[in-house]
């Protein structure tokens, strides 16, 4: 994996998480700008999937291909599912839900990189 790109994703999702929690603390519903921020993180995750698959085709091997692909694809689902759940009832809590989903992304990206550098599960 390209470490710099992983760090970019972690930084962007943490920034979006902080932004969500600040908005939630100020009693705001999710704004269009915040949802745009989430969309940007999701876009980075799609690029990460493409890079990951290209590296696999190029012959590089992670600790476990199944786990690696599960993380690559699984982390694409978190933000959309979280956003649907958040927007089903709009309140300051929705904004906090978006923040929580953004915190989950760095964890998954870190695990993904551990698997890439040899961890098996």
């Amino acid at each position: 994996m390209i470490t710099g790109f992983a760090i970019t994703i972690v930084a962007c999702s943490l920034l979006t998480a902080v932004w969500s929690f600040v908005l939630s603390a100020r009693n705001r519903e999710p704004s269009k700008a915040l949802l745009g921020g989430l969309a940007a993180v999701e876009l980075l995750l799609v690029v990460q999937l493409i890079i990951g698959v290209v590296l696999l085709i190029g012959g590089e091997r992670p600790g476990s291909i199944a786990t690696y692909l599960a993380y690559l694809i699984g982390c694409l689902l978190v933000l959309p599912v979280g956003t649907v759940w958040a927007l089903a009832e709009r309140s300051r809590s929705s904004t906090a839900v978006l923040g929580i989903t953004c915190v989950a992304i760095p964890v998954m990206v870190l695990r993904l990189n551990e698997v890439w550098s040899g961890a098996t599960a």
Partner: protein, 142 residues
């Protein structure tokens, strides 16, 4: 009239989101552990699977409204708290029995102790959203 509990409203939505993430993480982790290296530590991996089932049940119980869902959530949060306390204590004093990490090892240390805090918050939230008993005294007069 008994009010059906709405556990998935307001702050409850945040709780459901955290539970859902843990359900996803625990289920996939247990799945991989059991599929690839079950023989290494069967007890620990079966506990991982049990934890996964409990997180899924708690998520569903909290996300749905109604008295049955409330009871499912109450049962799973209770088992979850007992589980994290038991496994947490055992993993410290009898580490030979838990050679591989589970979600609940050392009270969920590997997960920032969230597994220890989560059931407590869950139980407090369930107390606030408890279904009202159908007691005539509770009914408004007039």
């Amino acid at each position: 009239m008994a009010q059906p509990p709405k556990t998935a409203s307001g702050p409850g939505r945040v709780l459901v989101a955290v539970y859902a993430i843990f359900a996803l993480a625990a289920t996939s982790r247990a799945g991989v552990q059991i599929a690839t290296k079950f023989h290494e530590a069967p007890v620990a991996y079966l506990l991982s699977a049990l934890a996964a089932v409990i997180y899924v049940l708690a998520t569903v119980g909290l996300a749905r409204s109604g008295e049955t869902a409330w009871r499912v959530a109450l049962a799973s949060c209770t088992v979850e708290l007992l589980g994290v306390l038991t496994v947490g204590t055992l993993s410290i004093f009898d580490s030979a029995a838990f050679p591989q990490a589970t979600v609940w090892s050392v009270y969920g240390q590997g997960y920032l102790f969230i597994p220890l805090v989560l059931p407590v918050i869950g139980l407090l939230w369930l107390r606030r959203t408890a279904p009202r008993t159908q007691n005539p005294i509770d009914r408004p007069v007039g």
